[in-house]
């Protein structure tokens, strides 16, 4: 099966989605399309790859570096793992975009956070959680002052 093609196509689709998320207005239909169509398709492709190939890997598993390495030695399971990153990172990106409005985070400042999430997942999430925590503290201060 053309795993290289699946990999390339998924990357292109994810990149386009991230560009939309960073650059374009947050049209509800666009958010819904990324959430349900793009992430949905990534999830279906991931599920199918895992269902078909996961248990074919000898000595594969999640319990040790050797087991995980064995999984990643299989091209289809490696592609599945990559789809997992793409889908979950994009989902977190959508969540950040949605929550950003709640704390009044500027689109200019959202951009590097979303870019960080796109490239290195948890790193961008960490930046956003910092913003959230800070605004929560600031909110409490304001409430106490009044």
């Amino acid at each position: 099966m053309p795993f290289e093609q699946i990999f390339g196509a998924a990357n292109a689709i994810a990149l386009a989605s991230w560009l939309c998320l960073i650059m374009l207005p947050r049209w509800p239909w666009l958010m819904a399309a990324i959430r349900h169509v793009i992430i949905g398709a990534l999830a279906i492709a991931y599920a199918a790859l895992v269902m078909i190939f996961f248990f074919r890997v000898e000595d594969g598993g999640f319990g040790s570096i050797a087991q995980v390495r064995a999984l990643f030695m299989s091209d289809p399971v490696l592609v599945a793992g990559w789809l997992h990153y793409l889908a979950f990172d994009l989902f977190v990106g959508l969540w950040i975009a949605g929550k950003s409005a709640e704390i009044g985070l500027s689109r200019i400042l959202q951009a590097p956070i979303l870019l960080g999430t796109f490239m290195f997942g948890p790193l961008g999430l960490l930046m956003f959680m910092g913003c959230q925590a800070t605004m929560l503290v600031a909110q409490r201060q304001t409430e106490n002052a009044t």
């Binding site: 099966m1 279906i44 492709a45 599920a47 199918a48 895992v50 269902m51 078909i52 996961f54 248990f55 074919r56 409005a101 709640e102 704390i103 009044g104 605004m135 929560l136 909110q139």
Partner: protein, 282 residues
């Protein structure tokens, strides 16, 4: 719209609005879990070359997803004859949850075994798999009992006016369907001619009937199981038609439908036990 959506401050911590767990949400989400697994299963059917009994390992998961989703949808629809308060009683909610949870366990185990390329039913190859098969039996009995008890509750409830046929079709379909399923599936799971659904004939699913996959060379115990289980759709549908066309004596219609349905189950059951196929293709 509240003011909160206009400013950009954090919402109060208690702002989350919880939707209560009702019988309806339990049944609908249980159905959704089954159907969400269908797309990747279809891909498996298309691209996975592994076979079990000479057919794709993903055929069984697909059939179970459809039938368990249909079962949960049926319970959701039939419970509409109860007033909302009765439908959301603790007892009915527990029945619904038991059916939904058991269905979820069944599909997870069936798909896990398919992904591993081995059987789920009848597979007692390892101690863990023997346990898995036993638990599937527990799950199946749970599903059937839940449907039976929901049927009983519908029977005890007041008949909605103008819906006598639907009401009677609902409870009789659920109760009769459950009892006959328990009997036919009980024999099926025990295996009548060695482990498996076949009785005589070629012990392969390769030459089965389209869609159902039933044996065309020998008896197949899945046939009476099918007709027994789907009484819980057939009788309510008959009741719906009786009410729709305002036919007289709805009870007689439903009782006749139940008799015909039971006869079909008994005949196909005896046919399978005697090793003859429902349809012989040569």
């Amino acid at each position: 719209m509240t003011v909160r959506t206009l400013d950009h401050s954090l919402p109060p911590a208690s702002s989350a609005r919880w939707r209560p767990v009702t019988t309806d949400t339990v049944l609908l989400t249980g159905m959704a879990i089954q159907l969400a697994l269908t797309p990747p299963t279809l891909l498996g059917l298309l691209f996975d070359a592994r076979l079990l009994n000479d057919i794709s390992v993903w055929t069984k998961p697909l059939k179970f997803q459809f039938s368990m989703a249909l079962n949960l949808l049926t319970l959701f629809i039939l419970l509409k004859v109860l007033p909302p308060d009765d439908r959301n009683s603790r007892f009915i909610r527990l029945c619904a949850l038991a059916v939904a949870a058991a269905s979820t366990f069944e599909i997870v185990y069936i798909m896990l075994q398919a992904a591993r390329g081995v059987g789920s039913h009848y597979n007692v190859g390892t101690r863990l798999e023997a346990l898995g098969y036993q638990l599937m039996g527990v799950g199946a009995v749970t599903m059937v009992s839940g449907a039976f008890l929901i049927g009983l509750a519908i029977r005890r409830a007041a008949q909605p006016t103008g819906l006598q046929g639907t009401h009677m079709g609902a409870w009789s379909g659920l109760m009769l369907g459950s009892v006959l399923t328990l009997l036919t599936a009980g024999v099926l799971s025990a295996g009548f001619d060695g482990p498996g659904h076949w009785v005589g004939g070629v012990k392969s699913d390769a030459a089965g009937l389209p869609l159902t996959g039933w044996s065309t060379t020998g008896g197949d115990l899945r046939v009476p199981h099918f007709f027994a289980t789907h009484l819980s759709q057939a009788l309510p549908l008959l009741g719906l038609l009786v009410d729709r066309f305002k036919l007289r004596m709805p009870a007689v219609w439903i009782a006749s439908g139940a008799a015909v349905g039971s006869l079909i189950v008994v005949v196909t059951f005896l046919q399978a036990l005697s090793g003859r196929p429902l349809v012989a293709l040569s």
